[in-house]
């Protein structure tokens, strides 16, 4: 009998000949990511557990992004505790203002195809875009990994999502994952892995795959995996011969198979305040907006900024439009390509790469009765300000087109 991608990764990692869904196994962790919000808690628990040293200083990545730049004096405490932890235990990889953790982990090569990676953030599923099994955990569990290098997991069942054909011009990876969330619902993939395949997925950039793996956790998924290809190898800097074992076998056992024809997909939005409250954009067209947000670890990559710049070229935004590139590297590439100039000329507010607005911390939070169309991953109550802010989630194209109109429009 064949195996799914995640079963193969776990087998390679543990040396077990065969694993099957439901098995509880201990894996050797290839890399961990901790961000600034949770580092004080991780540091606390690590000391409470009585560990004297990290299991491997090279395998720990600390990223400051949620609080960069700081918006309140208390934020500084997190950096002080983080810096002290780095100094005391010799953490090798620290990023203090380079971008959002989920972008940096694959961009800087910390999470590679076939690896097993954990992070103190639910959107750690993102690294599945390169065929890495990555998942979010809490700070107590992270502290235990820091001391032992090990983590127990239950081998998950896999849901296969097959998408074939060519997406319509105004439909993007964001529309694909939103549609999928609407169909699976917010708990449809809980404890399970997703495996994406088909010609539509094969034709996607790594950046587009990232948008999908980033949001897979909104259906409860433990991981969301793509088969690595030439594009992945160029992005991750690994030879194809190292990753050619990472694919789902034709006779692998899937607990469910969803099949889509790309031509049938449409631009959609997640309406307030659940990620699985999916509607065609035209159903909510005309909804007045106070703000548009294009960016985040979901949709702050170069291709997203390109789409926004092309739509906004020579136009003027009719409401606040905030742009947040996912990393400094992307920021610089977007300057080089002229996108940032176009966006600034259109009246956009361009921010430092970081998590501020998406986590409701800084950089454009809203108040009661206001409405925002955003490209990030969550529209929960209170996510971007008060619990009476209406948050719609959509693609960068839907967002940019709507910013010009000051209301939701079909891109």
């Amino acid at each position: 009998m064949g195996h799914t991608v995640i079963e193969k990764i776990i087998q390679k990692n543990t040396g077990a000949a065969v694993v099957k869904p439901g098995d509880i196994v201990t894996v050797n962790v290839d890399r961990v990511m901790i961000h600034d919000i949770f580092i004080p808690f991780v540091a606390d628990k690590f000391e409470e557990m009585g560990f004297q040293s990290l299991w491997d200083t090279d395998k720990v990545v600390l990223i400051y992004d949620h609080l960069v730049p700081t918006s309140a004096v208390e934020d500084v405490r997190h950096f002080k505790i983080g810096d002290a932890f780095v100094k005391k235990f010799g953490v090798k990889h620290v990023h203090r203002s380079d971008g959002i953790c989920h972008q940096l982990m694959t961009e800087a090569g910390y999470a590679k195809p076939g690896d097993i990676v954990f992070g103190t953030d639910s959107h750690t599923t993102t690294y599945g875009c390169v065929g890495c099994f990555s998942s979010g955990i809490g700070y107590t569990e992270m502290a235990a990994i820091l001391g032992t290098g090990e983590m127990w997991i239950r081998v998950p069942e896999t849901i296969k999502v097959q998408i074939d054909g060519t997406l319509p011009d105004n439909v993007y990876a964001k529309d694909v994952i939103l549609r999928l969330l609407g169909d699976l619902r917010a708990d449809g993939a809980t404890y399970k892995a997703l495996e994406l395949c088909g010609s539509t997925v094969d034709n996607m950039s790594v950046a587009s795959r990232m948008t999908i793996s980033n949001m897979a956790v909104e259906a409860g998924a433990k991981a969301c995996l793509f088969r690595p290809d030439e594009k992945t190898c160029a992005y991750s800097g690994v030879p194809l011969s190292d990753v050619d074992w990472i694919y789902g076998d034709a006779d692998a056992q899937y607990c469910k198979v969803l099949t889509y024809k790309a031509e049938d997909l449409t631009p959609v939005v997640a309406c307030p305040s659940q990620v699985d409250n999916i509607h065609n954009v035209e159903e909510v067209a005309g909804t007045e907006l106070n703000q548009v947000f294009i960016g985040s670890c979901t949709n702050g990559r170069l291709e997203d900024l390109k789409v926004a710049a092309e739509i906004l070229d020579g136009k003027t935004v009719a409401c606040k439009c905030i742009i947040t590139p996912a990393s400094r590297k992307i920021y610089m590439e977007a300057i080089e390509a002229g996108y940032m100039e176009t966006l600034a000329m259109a009246g956009c507010i361009i921010t430092q790469p970081g998590c501020g607005l998406c986590c409701g911390r800084s950089g454009g939070i809203l108040c009661d009765g206001e409405t925002v169309l955003a490209t990030n991953n969550r529209n929960f109550l209170g996510r971007m300000g008060t619990s009476k802010v209406g948050i719609y989630l959509g693609s960068p194209a839907t967002a940019a087109s709507s910013a010009i109109a000051g209301k939701i429009v079909v891109p």
Binding site: G138, R378, F380, L381
Partner: protein, 158 residues
């Protein structure tokens, strides 16, 4: 008997404890804001030994361990739901907060009503009916029995 605080489907971790409070210095400082957007009086009313009962997918969303931690700090004896989101479930067991899967209780008890949870027997009783709860895998039950992951690691190390 324990008092029941009842919540619906897909209660996310932002609703349990909102992001802006995660910057407070510790769980004690955060716990007063538990369920602020859903039930502003919860944190001041809930008593030691009370139960949180929810429908499907309780604790979805972020990985914040503060979500189960504030519930535990407020004295919540257990969360009993039809189903839980993955990270919340693991986090709860790691900090020693019992998370109980029971499909029947939700429809058998009202918000503000009473229920009796017997952790040892794995049963919950409400309105004269007794329901059995889904058993945890042995590995997780051992962590929970030890009082959480830290206590469990310390026990292993002895």
């Amino acid at each position: 008997m324990s008092k029941v605080y009842k919540f619906g489907n897909d209660v996310d971790t932002d609703q349990i404890i909102a992001s802006q409070y995660l910057l407070l210095p510790d769980i004690e400082a955060m716990k007063g804001y538990t369920f602020e957007s859903l039930s502003p009086s919860f944190a001041s009313e809930v008593k030691e030994g009370d139960l949180v009962v929810a429908n499907e997918n309780f604790g979805c969303g972020s990985s914040r361990e503060q979500a189960p931690s504030v519930l535990k700090a407020l004295g919540v004896k257990a969360v009993i739901a039809k189903s839980f989101a993955r990270i919340f479930y693991r986090n709860s067991i790691n900090i020693g907060l019992p998370v109980i899967v029971c499909k029947e209780l939700y429809d058998a008890v009202e918000d503000g009503g009473e229920a009796e949870l017997d952790l040892t027997a794995g049963t919950v009783t409400a309105g004269g009916q007794t329901f059995s709860c889904t058993k945890l895998p042995e590995y997780m039950q051992n962590i929970l029995n030890a009082g959480g992951l830290i206590a469990s690691l310390n026990k292993e190390g002895q």
